[in-house]
Structure formats: structure tokens, C-alpha cells
């Protein structure tokens, strides 16, 4: 389609959109838009939108894959890409039509507001996003050019670190207790509780807490743990582990709020564009595009659709929870729908959002179902009826955000007294994929440089997956 607009048109539309943004009470970081072509867009997508990112072959692979999909028309390019920085940075594709650009700009402000206000993003320090990624790039490139390191030593380390990057703490709003705090907590728990009848009772025996164990409490941050507890890693190796960990930390809030965030942005772009009184041709195209984005995907789950429907429902209901769904726990203060929306956008992430605000009615309306593998096929085992909806909701909650990443913690760094690393997988009914587990365990072994043991459940049997210098083995426990 021929472009019949220029940057000034976009600026004019943007000014009108911003008026509405303020009017609706959205609270945004300053915004920057960069107009790019589809090749640059592919590049930004492959490198998570960052203007600067360190090199690694996996991004080349991602680029090729995206390009192939795009060129064969399997998937289009996203209309927009926003990164969580301050000022927020968004990319607009120059080949898009004016209606699409207007929609995109409005959508971007929705994300911007969400980034700025949602609690999961509080720890991301958006002022430094771009400079942090740039500093990482500079450091990695320096190691790359260092003749004593170079790509042949660096790449295996990055491969291993990437494999483990999401094995970290999920809720970054909770501060990680220090070593000293953990020690205190252990001592306090070990102390016998105050007993008003201590004159009558035999005093409870004092069990000395195990304070020499490493880690004191199971640790989720695999990369950091290895960095801090394997003395044989070189300085540059520690630094690379830190870099990979920090990048993962940046993405976790986005993984954790995908449904809310996309739903929120879709809700507001709709509100804004409806209030703009678009000329008819633009409006018609907008309606078409909007529906493409937020349409349901039967047999799948479109986060834009699900998110938008829950927000709309919330707006309508306000804080009212249907009686039969009331759960114990903190109830929200009474608010009208709009206040409720802004309250929720600050305090929830996807798991809480679904748990608190996805109602039975909505589950029925969306015709959500749960499926299970049966033989070679995936078969529906629950539909949204009186019995099924709670389980469906629960299954959905365990399939969003970081819940899709198995929860694995370091429980002992000196297992069997031979500095073996003992990991425990908190099994929740879903088994690990064994091929992946084997290869990933090899990466842990590569970084830890000693034996690594992973405790998990495979086919209802407690199993130890062991990786050491002799290779991979499994053992029933």
C-alpha cells in the first residue's frame, strides 16, 4: 500500500492520542518512536528490541527463523515493538498504513503506562535499560576480542548460561534475603517456642540448626549460585554469567505479565481510537486490524484476547466478585470499575490476575477447556462446566508466565561430601522433558565442573538424574 502520510501526520495523530492518554488517566514515561523498515524490525525482534545487544549465534538463528516465517507468510511482523525503558522506546514499521500506525501508537502508550506502574517492573530500573544492555555488549565484545579468551572459549559458556538463564527467582518484587538474614531466620526457627507451662513440661530439646550447609536455604538463582560458589571460574566467566542473569531479570516481568500487559494495551488502544472520531476509512481499517489482533484463536489461547476480555469484564463488574467464587484471602476495597482496573494494573501479575479476576462466567463464555495427552493425541478432558471450571482455571494459571519454567533449586553444593551440586525439581505433576533435561544438566555440569544431581519425578517415580565426567545416568531414588 502506498504511504500517504509522513512523520508530521504521525506527530499530529500522536498529539491527539496523547491528549486522550492524559484524559483517560494513563501515566506514561516519555515516549520515543523510531520508524524502521521490515529488515530492521526483524533485527529488533531477534535481539529483543534492544538497540545494542551482545552477539551470540542464537540471535542469528532467531533472525533466520523469523525471516523465513515472514517471507513465507506464515507469520506477519508485529505492528509494534516497545521496550521497557525510560524514555520508552517503540518501533513503528514504515510500510504500515496510517490507520495501523495510529492504532500502534495508542497501543504503545498502553504498554508504556503498564511498564511504568505495574509492581513487577519496579525492579527493572528503566532509566538504565538501554545503557545496561549497551554496557553488556561492550564487555562481551571485549572478551570476544581478547586473544586469551575469544569466541571458542566464550561461546560454550554463553550456550550454557543461556540454557539456565530462566532458572532464577520469579517474583523480583520480593527482596532476596541476605546470607546473614537466612542465618538469623534459621536460628530463630530452631529456638524452642515460648512455652507458658515450661515449669510443668519437659523443655523441648534444642536442635542446633545446620548453619554450615551451602546454601542455607534452597537457592533458585542457578547462575548466580554457580558464579559465587565455583572458585575455578575466571573473572570473565563470572562476568558473563552475571550479564546473562541480568538480561533474564529484565525479561521476567514481561514474561510474568504477558496477558495483563497485552490486554491492557489492547483495551486502551480501543478506548482511545473510539474516542478520536476517526474518519470513516481509517475507522473501518482500525476495526478490521483491531479484530485481527484480539480475535480468539480456537484450539489455542490468544493472550491479547484473554487479557482484553478480563479487563473489560473487570471494568463492568468493578470489584464485585460473584458470591460462589469468593475465596478466602485479602479482598479488594470497594471501587468502581475504572478504579479497580487501575488498582489491578499496579498490583497483579498474570497468575494473580487470572486467579482473582477470571470468573466462572467468563471461562464459560470463552469456552476454555483443558486437554491431556492420550496416546498420540491431545484430548479434551475438561470443559467449562460446573465441575470443570476450577480445574481449568488452575491449569491455566500453572501455564502462564514463569510457571511454564520448571521450578528447580540448588539444595546442596556439597552433596555426598564431594562438592557435587544437588538440585531439586519441585514436581507439580508435569514431568521434565528428558532429552532437554539431559542436555541442560550437561550445561550445569560444564559450569559447575563437578558432578551434578537433579532430583525429580519421572512417570510417578522419584528419580535422580546424574551428570558427571563419565556422562549422563539416571537412578531411581
Amino acid at each position: 500500500m502506498a504511504r500517504t502520510y509522513d512523520v508530521h501526520d504521525l506527530e499530529a495523530w500522536d498529539a491527539r492520542i496523547r491528549e486522550k492518554v492524559v484524559e483517560f488517566g494513563l501515566d506514561c514515561h516519555p515516549q520515543e518512536f523510531e520508524i524502521c523498515d521490515h529488515n530492521q524490525m526483524l533485527g529488533y525482534m531477534a535481539y529483543s528490541g534492544m538497540p545494542a545487544h551482545y552477539p551470540h549465534w542464537s540471535y542469528g538463528k532467531a533472525f533466520e527463523k523469523l525471516k523465513t516465517l515472514y517471507e513465507y507468510g506464515v507469520s506477519g511482523l508485529p505492528y509494534e515493538m516497545v521496550i521497557n525503558s525510560n524514555p520508552a522506546l517503540a518501533y513503528l514499521m514504515r510500510d504500515n498504513s496510517l490507520a495501523l500506525q495510529v492504532l500502534t501508537i495508542a497501543h504503545v502508550y498502553g504498554h508504556n503506562d503498564f511498564f511504568k506502574n505495574n509492581f513487577t517492573f519496579k525492579s527493572t530500573r528503566p532509566e538504565y535499560t538501554i545503557s545496561t544492555f549497551k554496557a553488556h555488549t561492550t564487555r562481551v565484545r571485549r572478551y570476544l576480542e581478547d586473544p586469551s579468551i575469544g569466541i571458542d572459549r566464550m561461546e560454550p559458556l554463553l550456550d550454557a548460561a543461556h540454557a539456565l538463564s530462566l532458572q532464577c527467582r520469579r517474583n523480583l518484587a520480593i527482596r532476596k534475603p541476605s546470607e546473614e538474614e537466612n542465618r538469623q531466620a534459621l536460628l530463630e526457627t530452631a529456638a524452642p517456642p515460648h512455652d507458658p507451662f515450661r515449669n510443668i513440661h519437659r523443655p523441648a530439646a534444642y536442635v542446633e540448626p545446620e548453619l554450615r550447609r551451602v546454601p542455607l536455604v534452597p537457592d533458585e538463582d542457578l547462575l548466580l549460585f554457580i558464579r559465587d560458589h565455583n572458585p575455578y571460574l575466571a573473572e570473565w566467566e563470572r562476568d558473563l554469567l552475571t550479564i546473562v542473569h541480568e538480561e533474564a531479570q529484565y525479561f521476567i516481568p514481561q514474561i510474568e505479565t504477558k496477558i495483563m500487559n497485552e490486554g491492557w494495551a489492547s483495551y486502551w488502544h480501543k478506548q482511545i481510537l473510539d474516542s478520536l472520531e476517526l474518519p470513516q476509512d481509517l475507522h473501518l481499517e482500525f476495526v478490521v486490524r483491531h479484530n485481527q489482533v484480539v480475535r480468539p484463536h480456537p484450539g489455542g489461547l490468544n493472550p491479547y484476547h484473554l487479557g482484553l476480555r478480563i479487563w473489560e469484564d473487570l471494568r463492568r463488574r468493578g470489584g464485585e466478585t460473584p458470591e460462589r467464587e469468593q475465596e478466602t484471602g485479602p479482598s479488594s476495597p470497594p471501587m468502581n470499575g475504572r478504579e479497580m482496573m487501575f488498582f489491578v494494573r499496579e498490583t497483579d501479575r498474570d497468575t494473580a490476575f487470572l486467579r482473582r479476576h477470571l470468573t466462572e462466567e467468563l471461562i464459560r463464555e470463552l469456552d476454555l477447556f483443558q486437554y491431556q495427552p492420550k496416546g498420540d493425541e491431545l484430548v479434551i478432558n475438561r470443559v467449562a462446566d460446573d465441575e470443570g471450571w476450577r480445574e481449568i482455571k488452575q491449569a491455566l494459571i500453572s501455564n502462564v508466565g514463569m510457571s511454564t519454567v520448571p521450578f528447580i533449586r540448588v539444595s546442596d553444593a556439597d552433596f555426598g561430601g564431594k562438592r557435587a551440586l544437588y538440585l531439586v525439581h519441585a514436581h507439580d505433576g508435569r514431568d521434565l522433558q528428558l532429552e532437554h533435561a539431559e542436555k541442560t544438566l550437561a550445561y550445569v555440569h560444564q559450569l559447575w565442573q563437578r558432578e551434578v544431581v537433579l532430583e525429580t519425578v519421572i512417570g510417578n517415580k522419584n528419580t535422580l538424574l546424574i551428570r558427571n565426567d563419565r556422562g549422563f545416568s539416571t537412578k531411581a531414588r
Binding site: L10, E11, D14, R18, V21, P30, E32, F33, I35, D37, N39, G43, A46, Y47, H56, W57, S58, Y59, G60, K61, E64, P87, D159, A163, L166, Q167, K258, H297, P298, G299, G300, L301, N302, P303, D367, L368, F369, Q372, P373, D376, E377, L378, V379, I380, N381, A395, N399, V400, T404, V405, P406, H425, G429, R430, D431, L432, Q433, H436, A437, T440
Partner: protein
């Protein structure tokens, strides 16, 4: 809120910002390396034999898959229906089992591809890279007049219209115009005089026909089709011939192939007959060699052709023929670039006792190689060993 900043598109940025180029290159190197590491397994697979070179085959890649801890396929999930979902309805298939995975947006990490398409051509290239083979010796007589292509050579003042070089023609005219101005300065420069082209300005591109040199090779496949050669043996022989043929074909432009099947007597056959027709009866190896010698003498004179001969047999020759076999083999080594004998004895075969390997040990020629193939995995190392002989020879006789 402050004004938003719009940074307009700059094509200069777009052109130089192929930021993924380095990482893409690295990824492709890894794919290639992964294929190279598996090349022996891939070659041993039956699917590549006798196939067209443009054929695309799927090659499993291990090195480039990104692993993480992920949930296996006993997990199930939640999806949205169209309003008519019923328990028991089938909504998809488990991954990796036939049809594509169901579209489960957002609730699962994407399924990583672990196979890549490689054309047979590329595969063979990788295979030869793996061998680190030097270019084969090229004799003067190897090169024949094959085809003529015309190529540009200078300029002429005569020629056909289609080859008129307009730029040079105009240049010649401008030159002439300037020199004529200098020689005959005009007084009345007020009006611009017309200055037409002259026949001498016209410049034509000249072409000459170019003789392209081509090199010829013939691969002579000799196989024992006596009753003792079973399917497995034939399959192994076939893999070997395939490799040899593909190898020769990558090195020479014009490659012919001759199939000679023999039992007690030899005849030239088509490829299909070669591999599919079994004969019964005993074996005279010398008959096959004699037929090869005849064919070479009649059609592929060694001064014009590079001859590669290879013989596959199970070594079960009649004793009375051994002397003749040795003599004809000796003759073959004298006229061939490379002559190989492969003895195929699948493990546990009952012909363990009789073998031609002992007999051929007496044949001393540095372009002769015997190999023993016991199972599929031996094909590739044997092939390497065979070509190593070719290499040795090259070092001994540098190109004349």
C-alpha cells in the same frame, strides 16, 4: 506529559544496519559443523544411494538446538474452543508424532526445529571437505575440447549492429570534435554547427570463440553377481560405488559410468540390472577384469580418460582363476588412476575362509587398494582409505 519524539526512517541507517549478519554466519557455521560431525552416520543411511543430486534430504542437527529445562508432553494445557467443546474431543497431536503441533500460542516455549534440509550436493561437498582432499592430478591429456563459448576480446571498427558500443562510439566522436575545433578554429562561433557521427567513430565489441577445456573420467564398477552375493552385500557395494561415483563427478566435468557384472563370465549392464539381477553359479573374477580391460581399450583410452575402477566381491573366487585374476588386476593398475578391490563380508557370513585379500597382497602397485567391508559403518572409512591411495600417488607423481 512531554512531547513524544519521532525519529524518522533513514535509509542509510537501514542499509548498513544488518546487525544480525555476524550471528547468522556463526549459526550457519554451526549447522554445517553439526552436519560434518554426523556425516558418517548420514552416509551410512540408505536413503542417499542412487538419488538425484538436487534431492533435498533432512539431516538431524544436534549442535544447534537450544536446550533448557522444559516440561515434557505429559503436561497438557488449556486452550480456547469455539463454543462446542466436549470432553473426549481430539484437539491435536503430541509433538513429534506426525502432524504439526497444535497452535498453542503463549502457553509453551516454541518447538525448536532439530532437522535441517540439505541438498545431496551440499552434503557431498561437506563430505569431501571432511576428507581434506587435494585437487586431483591433471594430466595434459585429460583436457579435451568440449564446447566453445564466445567471449569478449577488444574492439573493432566493423561489426554487426547489435554489438555497437555506444559509449565508445560517442567518445570517439567527441574526441574527433575537439581535435577538429583545435585544428580549424571557427570565426563565427555564434551558431552551433552540427557535428555528425562519422563511420570511423563507430566502435563494435569484438568476440572470439573460446575453447573451454573439460576433463573426462570414467568410473568402472565391477561387481560379483554370483549366487553368494546377497542383498546386504549388494547394498554395501552400492553405497561404495555411489560414493566413488559422486566423488569422481565432483572432480571432473564429464564423467561416465560403466557397470560390469560378472560371475563366471562378465557382461556390461545398466545400473538397474547391476543392482537388481542376481545370477547363480560360481565366480571367475578375472572375467570381470578382462571385460573392463576390453572396454577401456575400446572406448576409454587412458591418455584421454581418467579411469577409476572398483571391484566389489565377497572374495569367493574359484582357486583355478586366482592366477588369472592377479594378472588382469596388474594390467588394470597400469592403466587406471586408481583401482580398488573391496571385499564385502558381513559379520557372521560363512565365507570367512576364502578371501582374495591374501591373493591381492602379492600385487604391488601404489594405486591399488584393497578394503574389507564388514558392516555399514565400514563404508566411509574404507572409502577414505581408498582415496588416500589416490593421494599418495599424487604426491609421488606431481602433475606433469
Amino acid at each position: 506529559m512531554p512531547d513524544s519524539v519521532f525519529r524518522p526512517f533513514r535509509s542509510s541507517d537501514a542499509e548498513r544496519s544488518d546487525r544480525a549478519a555476524g550471528d547468522r554466519l556463526r549459526h550457519r557455521q554451526k549447522v554445517r559443523q553439526a552436519i560434518r560431525e554426523n556425516i558418517a552416520d548420514i552416509i551410512a543411511e540408505e536413503s542417499i544411494i542412487g538419488k538425484d543430486r538436487d534431492r533435498v534430504i533432512k539431516v538431524p542437527i544436534r549442535g544447534v538446538k537450544e536446550y533448557r529445562f522444559v516440561y515434557g508432553d505429559n503436561a497438557g494445557g488449556v486452550a480456547q474452543g469455539d463454543g462446542s467443546s466436549e470432553p473426549g474431543q481430539v484437539v491435536g497431536r503430541r509433538e513429534g508424532q506426525g502432524a504439526g503441533p497444535p497452535d498453542r500460542a503463549g502457553d509453551r516455549p516454541g518447538v525448536d526445529y532439530y532437522e535441517t534440509d540439505v541438498s545431496l550436493e551440499d552434503l557431498i561437498e561437506i563430505m569431501f571437505e571432511d576428507l581434506e582432499l587435494p585437487d586431483l592430478e591433471r594430466k595434459r591429456f585429460r583436457q579435451l575440447l568440449a564446447s566453445s563459448i564466445s567471449k569478449r576480446k577488444g574492439y573493432r571498427q566493423v561489426g554487426i549492429r547489435a554489438r555497437l558500443d555506444k559509449r565508445r562510439t560517442v567518445r570517439a566522436k567527441v574526441k574527433r570534435q575537439h581535435s577538429s575545433k583545435r585544428l580549424l578554429p571557427r570565426e563565427n562561433s555564434g551558431e552551433e554547427a552540427r557535428f555528425p557521427f562519422h563511420e570511423r567513430d563507430l566502435t563494435y565489441r569484438h568476440r572470439v570463440s573460446d575453447i573451454k577445456e573439460e576433463s573426462n573420467a570414467v568410473v568402472i564398477c565391477i561387481m560379483d553377481t554370483s549366487g553368494s552375493m546377497d542383498t546386504m552385500k549388494k547394498y554395501l557395494a552400492r553405497s561404495f560405488f555411489f560414493l566413488l561415483f559422486q566423488f569422481i563427478r565432483s572432480k571432473y566435468q564429464n564423467v561416465e559410468i560403466v557397470f560390469i557384472a560378472h560371475h563366471t563370465e562378465a557382461k556390461e549392464v545398466t545400473e538397474d540390472e547391476f543392482f537388481h539381477k542376481g545370477e547363480s553359479g560360481g565366480t571367475f573374477i578375472s572375467s570381470g577384469y578382462q571385460r573392463a580391460l576390453d572396454i577401456i581399450a575400446a572406448r576409454y583410452h587412458p591418455s584421454l580418460w581418467n579411469v577409476y575402477a572398483f571391484h566389489c566381491s565377497d572374495g569367493d573366487n574359484f582357486d583355478s582363476d586366482n592366477a588369472a585374476a592377479l594378472r588382469t588386476a596388474k594390467e588394470l593398475t597400469e592403466i587406471c588412476n586408481l583401482f580398488g578391490y573391496g571385499e564385502i563380508k558381513p559379520l557372521g557370513s560363512r565365507y570367512y575362509e576364502s578371501s582374495m585379500l591374501n591373493i591381492f597382497r602379492r600385487l604391488e602397485a601404489d594405486n591399488f587398494q584393497t578394503v574389507l567391508i564388514e558392516r555399514k559403518e565400514d563404508v566411509w572409512p574404507s572409502f577414505k582409505a581408498l582415496l588416500a591411495k589416490d593421494r599418495v600417488r599424487e604426491q609421488n607423481h606431481p602433475a606433469s
